[in-house]
Amino acid sequence: MMDGAAILDAPLLSARGITHSYGARIGCRDIDFDLWPGEVLGVVGESGSGKTTLLNCLSAQMMPSSGKLTYRLRTGDQADVYALTEAERRMLMRTDWGFVHQNPRDGLRMGVSAGANVGERLMAVGARHYGAIRDQVTDWLGRVEMDLERIDDLPSQFSGGMQQRVQIARNLVSGPRLVFMDEPTGGLDVSVQARLLDLLRGLTNDLGLSAVIVTHDLAVARLLSHRLMVMRRGEVVEQGLTDQVLDDPQHAYTQLLVSSVLQT
């Protein structure tokens, strides 16, 4: 497949010098990286290290103070994300990107059913045929292991783990190429977390999705990400292949993080 080979030779997302400050306080500083197609990038660091600020800048939910973000569109053209018009950017987010929030309430509409939450996303990219939408919604809720009898229930009647799975279905149903996730398993019980991790791992593998996942949990990072960026005080102190960063950490801060994890 010539196309595939050609595509692999170019990054999907390129960040250069992404810097954001809140007044005098630095959110993140001088972040550079390339995300390759099919690659899952983990961003780790303790709270306040700038992970979420960076994720918000990368997903264009927030405009950084400076820096450039380039995204390669399906057509092969490069889009300068921060220079797009508001409408173009919203279109990109609907058609090509997904965003999974830590708190499902931030990513779901709590007043409409689980099915509608997922179907809505398809309608936003132009699907109109009710039967086809319903089929896809059912298919996706099945893939995230939802009990299909509850398709018409409101998300507020679901547990946190179920809400998170609906949010994932809502994000993936429209076939995005890039998904941003902010602590996707945060705040869930360990057993629910394991199930969700297994699900996410399967989905990123099977769909060849690219993703940026923010987490403070090194085990989650090891399981889900190919590559890791370690942040501290707004800066990336170390980055590389996930198992290499975790098994042979170079920076004092990474060594501290790795050695602080309890062994089970």
Binding site: G38, E39, A194, D198, N205, H226, G240, D248, Q255
Partner: protein, 233 residues
């Protein structure tokens, strides 16, 4: 002349422990090494001489700060020491297999899938990959009733055999084995001897650490003695 499959030039490695007073632990200095297709090179030496580290450096698991680790991949030569993360992952997917001392278990993933995964990563469909995984598990004497269970609850020996089945399911051109038989009984060690001989017979280059001398004698075509760091180079 034959070209090596792995060629290591001027490789040095040490660990710096920043949170323990910046202590520097040297592992080895200035190693040169060539490994050819069809041979099984056994790394030998007392513990602490960097046998595991050398294997991990070749696999890209440890960072190589100095020297080159050239690996033949896809008809070209890739320097593991300089490769980007996605290039190392591609190398692992298609060229280099690695069997560690312990299986890293993933919650909820059954043994059959753990073993099938390297084939799935190469694009083999689920049914064919699981068929092959079942054959490997049978070969390593893992009873079928365990195939659909997650290996977290398996015994050490069973986990290690799942690990071996996973490592040998793909015909990698390069196989890296870090004490793969530590927790195995005689019958299963014999299976490992068989699969290693089969791998070298089809032209794979094997680099391994075998604590058991009998095992080493049975499979190694060459032995590399590693001396404690600082003693020699």
């Amino acid at each position: 002349m034959r070209a090596p499959v792995i060629r290591i030039e001027g490789l040095s490695k040490s660990f710096v422990l920043h949170n323990q007073g910046g202590v520097e632990l040297p592992v080895f200095r200035d190693i040169d090494l060539e490994v050819f297709a069809g041979e099984c090179l056994a790394l030998h030496g007392p513990s602490g001489t960097g046998k595991s580290s050398l294997i991990r450096l070749i696999y890209g698991n440890y960072l190589c700060p100095q020297g080159r680790i050239l690996v033949r991949h896809d008809g070209r030569v890739t320097d593991v020491a300089r490769a980007l993360p996605h290039e190392i992952l591609d190398l692992r997917r298609r060229t280099m297999g690695y069997v560690s001392q312990f299986l890293r278990v993933i919650p909820r993933v059954p043994a059959l899938q753990v073993v099938a995964e390297p084939l799935r990563a190469q694009g083999v469909d689920a049914a064919a990959a699981e068929q092959a995984a079942g054959e490997m598990l049978t070969r390593f004497n893992i009873p079928e009733r365990l195939w659909h269970l997650a290996p977290a609850t398996f015994s050490g020996g069973e986990q290690q055999r799942v690990n071996l089945a996973r490592g040998f399911i793909v015909d990698y051109p390069i196989l890296l084995l870090d004490e793969p038989t530590a927790s195995l009984d005689k019958a299963n060690r014999d299976v490992v001897i068989d699969v290693i001989r089969q791998a070298t017979a089809r032209g794979a280059a094997v680099v391994g650490i075998f604590h058991d001398a009998q095992m080493r004698d049975a499979v190694a075509t060459r032995v590399l003695d590693l001396a404690p760091a600082g003693a020699a180079a």
